[in-house]
Subunit: 120 residues, 4 copies
Amino acid sequence: MVIKIDEYSDIPIYMQIRNQIVMGISSGELKPGEQLPTVRALALEIGINTMTVSKTYQLLKSEGYIFTDRKNGARVRTEIDKSGQITEANKAELRRIVSEARLSGVSKQDIIRLIDEYYV
Amino acid sequence: MVIKIDEYSDIPIYMQIRNQIVMGISSGELKPGEQLPTVRALALEIGINTMTVSKTYQLLKSEGYIFTDRKNGARVRTEIDKSGQITEANKAELRRIVSEARLSGVSKQDIIRLIDEYYV
Amino acid sequence: MVIKIDEYSDIPIYMQIRNQIVMGISSGELKPGEQLPTVRALALEIGINTMTVSKTYQLLKSEGYIFTDRKNGARVRTEIDKSGQITEANKAELRRIVSEARLSGVSKQDIIRLIDEYYV
Amino acid sequence: MVIKIDEYSDIPIYMQIRNQIVMGISSGELKPGEQLPTVRALALEIGINTMTVSKTYQLLKSEGYIFTDRKNGARVRTEIDKSGQITEANKAELRRIVSEARLSGVSKQDIIRLIDEYYV
DNA sequence: GTGGTCTAGACCACG
DNA sequence: GTGGTCTAGACCACG
């Protein structure tokens, strides 16, 4: 899986990587149990500090998306918590996005079409 | 309109205020042409510095949501730009949220139900 | 001559009026010697404070564009100073505008075409 | 690049800095990708508050002229948006300047000569 | 070390 | 009275 960093983005690098890995897991590009690159390898590949990748992995681990063992490094969890809930933070974000879209004249149908596209 | 600040949030105060005002305009709680509280009044009400509120108003102004004049203070714009487009940043956020929701076992229908609720 | 105020503009009202009168004189819409509306009449017409119009007239007077006498009120000067020079402030502004236009990919010809259009 | 502040100017300090940086980028004195001084360094050099410089950088960032990251500070963007358009505000300013110049007896050729000089 | 945020307090032009 | 600007100083996340 290729990680791409947008240097112009306001989103911190460690969070950009985290988001792309989460989306990779969701889309199936990263399979349950699949090995992630080592911190060192990914840092080298992207051209950033190992500390930054390490931060990403720790975050993903604390969120329950990956697990690490000493032998095999980081791997995608096979059983990701299915709370069936959207987090409060994400609900708030969603509401903000919908409000901004609506004010820009975007129809509800257009937003739903995007959901359709992203929910793979 | 009541502005509520979550002091533990990662979102900066000026941005929390901005988001709530944008959502207020979208929901109709804030009507086109309606007067916003003065910088000083809002700062006093929330218990924060006037500079912070001022930053919010300048942001909202630069985004075309409100305008200010020195006599009347800040007011909601009557004609907000209708690009008909969702910004790229919001699309990326939406995609992230959908991915996370899907991984948590949230159905597409549930997300669409939220869109329905927020798109007032 | 019709004065139009843009309430969304960052330019102070008194300056907006001043600019439109100067452009009116330059375009010939306001002839040398022509009577301007009284402070009170113009304020009423635009729907603003008389103080603001008064400020405009004092500025125009100090700049040598108009003169006032007790009998006839304000009139356009017949002999406006022909220094043959662009003010330093206007040169700086012109340079800024040209720089911004150039960075936006506007050609020199396009700018000159605008000069042509505005130099009536 | 040397930034010079005119403390007697009506133009706010943060805007004077902004204008000089934009003109520096346009003239090529500041190259794409080039590092800008840090907020602290520039504030110290000019003898103003860091907040003021910070405001300038945020403005330039929101306008798409520069970008910032926490590691390297601020840098000139390599791909500045080429709308190919002069903004409405700049057109209005240009029109005002042309009118004033014309009234001062400046010929159209003289103005075009200045455009020629500034469009580097 | 870097920019980003925030405070407390001040002065200013506009209207 | 209003927003706009600026200072001096502080703390923070990111990397």
